[in-house]
Amino acid sequence: MANEVCLRNNDLERPWLLEQYQSRGGYEQLKRILAGEITPAQVIDEVKAANLRGRGGAGFPTGMKWSFISREAPGQKYVVCNSDEGEPGTFKDRDILRYNPHQLIEGMIIAGYAIGATRGYNYIRGEFWEPYMRFQGAIDEAREAGLLGENILGSGFDFDLHVHLGGGAYVCGEETALLESIEGKKGQPRFKPPFPAHFGLYGRPTIINNTESLCSIPVIIEKGGKWFSEIGVANSGGSKLFSISGNINKPGVYEIPMGTPFAELLEMAGGMRDGRKCKAVIPGGSSSPVIPGEQMLDLTMDYDSIQGAGSMLGSGAVIVMDDTNCMVRVLERMSYFYYEESCGQCTPCREGTGWLYRVVSRIENGQGRPEDLELLEDVTRKIAGRTICALGDAAAMPVQGMLKHFRDEFEYHIEHKRCKVGA
């Protein structure tokens, strides 16, 4: 069982076209809803029953998020889709935008209907020009067909949708930074509370969901929340897109049920390249702590299993590394990323990410000191949980994971001023 939800139309020749999408029953769920067959409350109930957890990485239950907004509350409300895919290792939303844009649009309209919002924005990272053009083409088609805009299909319900293009900032994947960015500002996350459900885009009630989450909605409505939930396992409903990359033969995006063994996913992805040993796996994007290969091979791809191993399923970005890789080098690169992408507002993250990077870099370059590893751990503890958004935690966790599982490589670097692996 694969490619049942977000990638279900990938076998079509040009699945991004309205006519092709409709040939598979596209926009039928929207029609049912607008015809009054399904009430907004029922939509939210189905999403809740689907056990759909936010696919961006945090895993917050989508149905619950929607239920925080009262449909009857007066004034403008917004649906915002987060297509600012930037977590290193993640490349699934790009495929949705390219190959199934109409399903995302349909999901957003349904979300708007459920919470009583008449306007949506899809925040697409600025580098995704081709996916943006695809998605914009789909919007234009949908508007032309009366599926977007005023009085959709004569139902009296209005919903319009626009793209906001990012400008190159990882932190805008954080929902409130993303809102700030749409408001024409630097993408600096807002302190919460207040949460977007109360004070969101332009200060109005807003739901923000990941591309994959919203794209799943029409299928959930069509087949029922229960059906979706049962694809997965307890606490991890549905199927999920996994972006798998690294030293493997067939990197790509695979939509498989939650709870699928990692070994199976690796096999789908063609197995290890050159038959090398799976040394380490980053299971949920670069912010999730690394897991040693042997341990990973025993895990299943769902929230609880990965969490039980001390990491996170995150965005489902799986980076597989073979035994030619030096973990110090890998961590140096990851730490540079957080140093580079910290927005700069919170002291621990602004100062701490640079500190982490510089110490790891020193170790990598043969300048490490014995006390550095303890220092690194201490600095990560002082960043994690002390910042406005999760970027601080994201910078801390990879360091903690690497030191937990591959401490010997760091010690070797410090002691011998060179790499254990020989990379």
Partner: protein, 761 residues
Amino acid sequence: MSEDQTVTIEVDGREIQAKAGQMLIDATDAAGINIPRFCYHKKLSVSANCRMCLVEVAKVPKPLPACATPVAEGMKVQTRSPLAIAAQKGTMEFLLINHPLDCPVCDQGGECELQDVALGYGDDVSRFVEGKRVVMDKEIGPLISTDLTRCIHCTRCVRFGAEIAGVRELGATGRGEHMTIGTYIEKSVDSELSGNMIDVCPVGSLTSKPFRFRARAWELIQRDAIAPHDAVGSNLHLHVRRNEVMRVHPKENDAVNECWISDRDRFSYTALNSAERLDTPLVKTRGEWKESGWHEALTRVASGLKEAGSDLGVLASPGCTVEELHLARKLANGLGSERIETRLRQGDFRTAAGAWLGQSVTDLERCSAALLIGSNVRKEQPIFGHRLRKAALEGCDVSFINPLELEMNYAARQIVTPPAAMAGEVAAVARAAGAAGPLIDQAEVTERHQAIAERLKAAPAATLLLGNLAQAHPDYAVLLTLASALAKATGAVLGQLPAGANSVGAQLVGAVGDGLDAMLAQPAKGYLLMGVEPGYDLWDPAAANAALTQSGFVVALSGFRSESLEAVADVILPVSAFAETSGTFVNAEGTWQSFAGAVSPKGETRPAWKVLRVLGNLLDLQGFDHDSSEEVLAEARQQAEGRQLDNAPADAVTECRLVDAALTRIGDVPIYAVDALVRHAAPLQKTRDAIAAAIYINESEAAKAGLTAGMQAAVTQNGTRVILPVTIDPNIPNGCVRIPAGVAGTEQLGGQFGEVTLEKA
């Protein structure tokens, strides 16, 4: 949840009361529980980014920022638990890793929030062995120095600019560790409140440029004072070292200036030691100025005044203290003269009114509709400007009727019209509001008049304010009459924004007379000038010069040497300036605020009240036996007892004197030209707001006169011809030319408003 609801929370085992929804740090501050902080500032929005105020809240696993955590009933907070302390110390370590720790050469040293908190939360030795960040400093003008390597990115300065100053000048550009505070491009920070950024900066990143490297914080003694340049009455702290005012800070007073002061009040102290200060008596003998001893000078003055007798005129700055004005009036009265005037820039004395704010200072920010007539409040009384801006941001509908367009820092309706048409505009609003009477009945009402009138009528708290441009208007009495009618028709409070620090006090002690015409039209036998430079401080310098030149005897009490004074005076007595003398100002809302001298008088100068007292003795006048300024004050207060101020004009005046000329001068007084102290404050004179004498004129009007930008042109007013450069200014309406008053180059010109002609020089 109502704002007034009280909740009980427990902080460090102690029960405290807090307002529901209040941020935790506000509650702990009120209870005297100290939580370290850098980005939090009670007058600025919450940014919660420094992470210094992290505390432990029961049932929350992570430490929470006290500045952004609303209190809730029963909340249990630990500010000193291991979790809280670890979080606070962690933040402190991060703040210090890239901080230069150059406290010994930092002006903030000794009064630095980072230094203070580091003492409690920092470690002795840094574990950071990497290279520290260095940030290039930026040149942002004559008032603020930058040392951006010290910056801890709290963004208070940025928020101050956006929220209080109302102009986004400083920003935080770049990302992450590379984020820096600055203007990004080479540009000065020009807000009239910019100096407050120095105060809000918790470290030595933004410091006072005039104070730079002049003293250490711990060498300074703090003395209280009241700001001398406008009718706000801002409370000040003077920081004094070895009998010298080293700098000026705000003294917090929520009823007056909150924790802010204008740059004018902050930096004018720099004039105290200007080379132009006068510190010995000067006596003119056979046209030659000679330094003299006090005795000789006073004897000469006494005989001159005696000679003048009842034909004495006293012209005193509205920045003189209650004590000085009281004694000056008493002196004049003792000599049989009733002629004393402090309304030196008033353009029309056809009616009398007790000019005051008409309400409290804090009322300004609570008003829901305001119409300002002839006022550039932002530059005339910057702190009142700030209060009104606060009101505007809360939805107050603010409108202006002015002879020139203002640069606003909030959205307001501006009716810009030549001076001669201002009365008509006010009349139109009055008519729209349902008032009747001469001028009003003929007024042509348009939509905008209607809109203003409706807002004023509908507002629960509306106010009409006449500013300095209205007071200087030749038809001020008409404007006041119309405004009074409009106030009656709308139920709005009628207020005035007096010019001087003691304009209101001057009225209460009777230091106002029949006006400048009565004083100058016929030259008096003798004049006593107090804090007045005839070329700069009077409505019509040309007329004043003429009268003073023809007078038999002119004595001036002055803090500064002044060509325009030396041209007309016979004796100049050096008097102590601001900070050197004790006294009292009554601010616009009528609050009496006394202050002591903070430093001893410079050189041979003497406090003016003492000089007047001695003169009283030398003239054998009764009742000049005071031993202290407090005694003078007590007497003055007694005299003032029962004197009520009322902005309503005594007589209705509806005859306009200013007729529509081909070209009318608008002679506003720029913010840094209002008095001698400010005019001699070098740093202020280098700012963008130090408006130079020039012909400011719009493009089409300039073209009519064949003038272009930068060209020298001749202005003729009442027969006096002056050459000034031309500046194109789109804010000036047709038929008008702005030639500021109070600035060098305009000493010979006539009234602040009046007909002028232009020609190529």
